[in-house]
């Protein structure tokens, strides 16, 4: 059971990393960003390529992957996403999906179709109460908590964070103050992409890298964002862990139903919380 709980918190942490970016784009720009999963996958491939070059040092390759993805995210934001502000939901969604298609093909073209394994960088496990717990997973969960606190401080104390929070609440109002909201959105978009890469790289040793690895987590992350409330950062944190636990617990008893349960929870939340519905 402790294994299941640990697995649930690990998945929850990964979901949190991935969902922040989605939640912010959803909350500020009203865009369902399909291309987020492309950035996630791309980051993992950058990591795999750089790991042997950098002498197998895990944190160095991770940092490199996070830096590499910045220009990609910038180009996406500047040339596609920015042109979609204020557009209807469907066109934005289709444009980001188009980017996902292009990106996935580029990844397949460069790195091929076969899944690439990533080894656990630590490989050690501690034994608590007769249960062996890989240290690596503990680190993932701890880094999620640290990140949550850091992001909270960033959004509450730093001026950029404050502007973003204000824009989440009332985009027009912030514009009227004479602030260039688009510029701050692009900063946060890049930040979200970097965090997606962080999540992807941390998750890679548990799964494996393949061109479509982003698709599954993307659908689940939509559920996380919706359950947590669009643009609600604390809500995203909580729902990430709750849904991670749902996956782990369902998976323990009926593994094929794990992903489906997430959607059942999401549908229930959407139906019973009427905030997303019309009056």
């Amino acid at each position: 059971m402790i294994q299941t709980l640990l697995y649930g918190t690990t998945i929850g942490a990964i979901l949190y990393f991935f969902s922040i970016g989605l939640s912010i784009t959803f909350g500020t720009m009203k865009i369902i960003n399909f291309a987020h999963s492309m950035v996630y996958t791309l980051g993992v491939y950058f990591f795999i390529t750089m790991l042997p070059v950098l002498g197998g040092i895990f944190p160095a390759a991770l940092a490199f992957a996070m830096v590499m993805v910045v220009p990609v995210a910038y180009v996406m934001e500047r040339f596609v996403i920015r042109r979609l502000y204020g557009e209807s939901l469907d066109y934005a969604m289709i444009a980001t999906y188009a980017m996902l298609l292009i990106g996935t093909d580029v990844i397949k073209w460069i790195w091929g179709n076969t899944p690439l394994p990533v080894t656990d960088p630590l490989g050690t496990a501690v034994t608590v109460l007769d249960v062996s717990i890989p240290v690596y997973r503990v680190i993932i969960v701890a880094s999620a908590v640290v990140l949550f606190i850091a992001l909270n401080i960033f959004f509450k104390k730093h001026i950029i964070g404050k502007i973003i929070i204000a824009a989440l609440d009332d985009n027009e109002g912030v514009r009227c103050l004479g602030l260039n909201v688009d510029r701050y959105f692009s900063i946060v978009f890049i930040l979200g992409s970097i965090l997606a890469v962080l999540g992807g790289v941390l998750y890679a040793p548990i799964s494996a890298a393949e061109p479509y690895m982003g698709h599954d987590i993307l659908l689940i992350a939509f559920a996380v964002v919706i359950v947590g409330g669009m643009g609600n950062l604390t809500g995203t944190f909580i729902s990430g862990f709750v849904l991670g636990m749902v996956i782990a617990v369902t998976g323990r008893y009926y593994s094929q139903a794990a992903d489906t349960m997430v959607f059942v929870v999401m549908a229930a939340v959407l139906i019973f919380r009427r905030s997303g519905s019309e009056t």
Partner: protein, 310 residues
């Protein structure tokens, strides 16, 4: 109608008959989606659920109850209508992103039920063959009969949707797309109209599904996979949403593109991606919108030339 039949007849020798039949079934599916998205402005990410319901209900009906093709079809359509009727009660309350994603959630649940939970009945990923047998002249092994029957279904769907969308009901659902609150103020029960549209759309998607069962005769969870939803959305957009001719053009164009690209180029999806970006940024009206603007410009030029001569 005659024009559509003529165009499809002309396309048949170019594309080969079996492909045309399959593409026409897809066009019916696109039209069912266009009613919901193009006319009523509700983007669903779960239309495959109704296609899949049609496919599986008709297959199971033909295996366990009666091999009659017409009865299997009716059973499949009824199945789609019932599922849409029940789920519609819940989902039509929502709009925008929650509507799209709740449909996706239900589609995922349906995929799970077909693919994993009821594996003993549906054989899961392996798929099953349908038990439909020829009945009278309706023998789907004969390509010409299948082609004619699917064409008849396509024209029937087109006729039904054309009549519906140009009726007062059609005006109401188009008004719901523009501004639902105002329609409510006019005293219409928008919830009811949205529900009816959802059920019609689901039933027609199920009709397309039953045709797949009859024509292909072998079904697998591919027909209910949630990720396939993007295909129908793209086809609708490429053709031009909110226009039945656009749905036909988009459906045909998308299938031809997919078919020809995937046979010649192993990595073809980026071309589709590029095309979609072009549609989103430069060609909002899709193919039909493009033709309209083009004919508009030509008419303008002609008019200019006339005034110049005079």
């Amino acid at each position: 109608m005659a024009i559509i039949a003529g165009v499809l007849l002309a396309l048949t020798p170019i594309l080969a008959i079996h492909r045309t039949t399959e593409f026409m079934i897809f066009c019916i599916f696109v039209m069912s989606f266009d009613l919901l998205y193009g006319y009523m402005g509700r983007l669903s990410f779960g239309q495959m659920l109704y296609l899949g319901t049609g496919v599986y209900v008709s297959t199971l009906f033909s295996l366990h109850i009666s091999p009659n093709p017409i009865l299997s079809m009716l059973a499949g359509i009824a199945g789609g209508a019932i599922v849409a009727g029940i789920l519609g009660l819940i989902v039509v309350r929502l709009s925008d992103a929650p509507f799209a994603l709740t449909n996706l959630a239900f589609n995922q649940v349906g995929f799970f039920l077909i693919g994993s939970a009821f594996q003993t009945v549906t054989h899961g990923e392996d798929g099953i063959s349908s038990g439909v047998e020829p009945w009278g002249f309706l023998d789907f092994a004969n390509e010409y009969v299948a082609w004619g029957f699917v064409l008849a279904c396509l024209l029937f769907t087109f006729f039904v949707l054309k009549t519906l969308t140009s009726s007062p009901y059609g005006i109401i659902i188009r008004s719901i797309k523009e501004n639902e609150v105002r329609v409510k103020f006019l005293g219409y029960n928008t919830y009811f109209y949205k529900w009816v549209t959802f059920v019609i759309s689901g039933s027609l998607a199920a009709l397309a599904g039953t045709l797949y069962t009859l024509y292909i005769g072998f079904v697998s969870p591919v027909f209910i996979h949630p990720l396939s939803n993007v295909e129908v959305i793209f086809a609708t957009l490429i053709g031009g949403a909110g226009n039945l001719y656009g749905a036909l053009a988009g459906g045909m164009f998308f299938m031809v593109l997919r078919d020809s690209l995937s046979t010649h180029i192993p990595q073809w999806e980026w071309i589709l991606g590029l095309l979609l970006l072009i549609v989103v940024f430069y060609l909002r009206g899709g193919i039909t919108g493009f033709i309209k603007t083009l004919s508009g410009t030509i008419a303008q030029k002609m008019a200019q030339r006339k005034t110049g001569e005079a």
